[in-house]
């Protein structure tokens, strides 16, 4: 079924000399739609969270000057909160935001996401600038721990379920209407 993404490799660059991580990927959708999947919390909650955790978005004001906060929760109740502010949200083009993990509030990183129009397709590039090389390396290591166990199970579920099913069955969007 969903085979159109084949050949779209996620590119990662971790500069040895600078505390940055660059992630780039192409999507088979125009910038407007990709941008919406990044900014609409109902859509974001369906893809951003790690495989084995429930994602809850407390607030997601995707506009210049807005803020966001979301929580990843493990089955045993352990919660990992993340928050930041949107420095600039330029529709269909660019999002600049801060990012910090509640457990390490001093490690604030700056994330710039660009949506590049490839004519019906979109290339998304996110550059994260961390506070230090150590913080960047810790980020890469945390990715390794999670990635090692997650595999592609969630993807299989998504692809296996039809569009009528709710692929984000483990997700919630609490507190958005309050």
């Amino acid at each position: 079924m969903n085979t159109t993404h084949r050949g779209h490799e996620t590119q990662i660059e971790a500069d040895p000399a600078l505390p940055t991580i660059l992630i780039a990927r192409e999507f088979d959708a125009p910038p407007e739609r990709v941008f919406r999947a990044y900014t609409d919390p109902d859509l974001l909650v369906r893809w951003l969270g790690p495989r084995r955790m429930t994602m809850r978005i407390d607030v997601h004001e995707a506009r210049t000057g807005g803020s966001y906060r979301y929580v990843h929760r493990e089955d045993d109740g352990t919660e990992y909160g993340f928050r930041g502010v949107f420095h600039e949200v330029r529709p269909d083009e660019r999002i600049v935001q801060t990012f910090a993990y509640d457990g390490f509030p001093d490690g604030v990183s700056l994330e710039t996401t660009l949506f590049e129009d490839l004519g019906g397709r979109t290339r998304v590039t996110t550059t994260s600038l961390m506070a230090s090389l150590d913080a960047r390396d810790a980020m890469i290591r945390s990715g390794m721990r999670r990635g090692a166990t997650e595999g592609h199970e969630r993807l299989d579920e998504l692809l296996g379920g039809g569009p009528s099913k709710n692929p984000g069955s483990r997700s919630e969007t609490e507190g958005l209407s309050s």
Binding site: N2, T4, H5, H8, E9, T10, Q11, I12, A14, P16, A17, I21, I23, R25, F27, D28, A29, R33, V34, F35, R36, A37, T39, D40, P41, L43, R46, W47, L48, P50, R51, H60, E61, A62, R63, G66, P91, L133, D134, R136, D137, A138, M139, I140, R141, G143, M144, R146, G147, E150, G151, H152, R154, L155, L158, P163, P167, L176, S177, S178
Partner: protein, 120 residues
Amino acid sequence: MPDDRLSRMFSALADPTRRDIVARLATGDATVNELAEPYDVTVQAVSKHIRVLEDAGLVSRSRDAQRRPCHLEGEVFDLMTRWIERYRREAEDRFRRLDAVLEQMADQPGEATPGKKAAS
């Protein structure tokens, strides 16, 4: 692999001269004198760089041979590559879920105004 190991490797590689030395060793073993030749620095300075690379586990030197050539530890680089590859795979996992979301969005035109809920 201890947690600080990757940090040591990254900071060892943060220096341009050391990166250059590593690039040269990637083509084959070389002595400190040979490595020092292209640079406008003393053999002692290059020796110091080699020691940092040794401490980070990136380079080794044979004990017995008179020339004591420097050798690049390829397996260590494989480890680094693996750290980053795992991170990449996690991002890929996330982006494939986004692929599916984007596809479903295409099937459901006439959606709500973007950003409407974000303002609440």
